[in-house]
Amino acid sequence: MTAQITIPRLETDRLILRAHTLSDFPDVAAFYATDHSKFVGGPMTPELAWRSLAMEAGHWLLRGFGRWSIIEKASDQWIGITGLWYPEGFPEHELGWDLAEHATGKGYATEAARAARAYAYDTLGWTTLISLVAEGNDASAAVATRLGARPDGRFTHERFGAMNVYRHPAPEALA
């Protein structure tokens, strides 16, 4: 039996955003295995990475929205995760992005997150979004800035530590 929930598939010029599957696990575990994941809870063991992937899948069922795996069209490879996130303890609904190290530097995080944001605004009817960026995560802060988000306070995450809150432009400002 597979999930009956419909997790939408989004497409951009270079990327596909789709539901996580079991076959993504090796890529997810590899992402969390190295220091590259230090701003988002890593590095962690495959066992904890499994819990993380299962939690991502469960978030869709509990909330009705969640995060997608990002697939690079050209290679058909898993390159990261983006989407809408609101677990217990988050201050607001968040747009997040995690990109595999080998996929950085190509504007993929911005392209993927923009599609996820458009889904939140245009399909779900949300009117604002934040992104939480860990202190020192300059690459992620740069993505937030490229997306037009601006600093809007601080938040202390119980596992990720001090984070800067970025507020995205409202839908009408993007129109």
Partner: protein, 196 residues
Amino acid sequence: MAPYTPPEQTSPDERAARMRAMIPQIQTPRLTLRAPKLDDLPTLTAFYRTERSHLVGGPLDARAASRVMAGTIGQWALRGYGMWYIAGRATDEVLGWTGILFAPGWAEPELGWTVFPEAEGKGLAFEAALAARDYAAAHLGIHRPISYIEPVNTRSIALAERLGAVRESTGALLGKPCLIYRHPALDDDGSVEAYA
């Protein structure tokens, strides 16, 4: 300013229906095995706050408990099977969980169970685990699951033996030594296969 709350796209009823489509419900004489739901979080958190939860990864705070719940549901999405929450058939109050766990670090699919202290001593864990084991045999092709049990967990050892499982070996799970019990082979209808 109050935090922004987006409009709900799906009603709680719709989400519950989707969850039921993925996680089948099982009725036993006294229990319902069902999908977790957000309303269970306070009870789950209360259990995870206690020292009693140390055999299953606790103590945990509310946020960590909610991650565990999401992970429980997520295994169903990823694997097509997982753990049910055990609820009182009349009250729908969550009393624990049982089902099949299979994650990195597990040698093979495991039949697991946890019942909160207030529900102990009534044979409810037995009733629930038996129903989950029958379901796994009938619908999942899992006929002789193992159960990992910490050596100090005498209640669980007694339950495994009551279920007809036998101690097969000792091993380790996530770095902790544990006993590995093997459940008897079951036919698809859940009855124990006759041995020649």
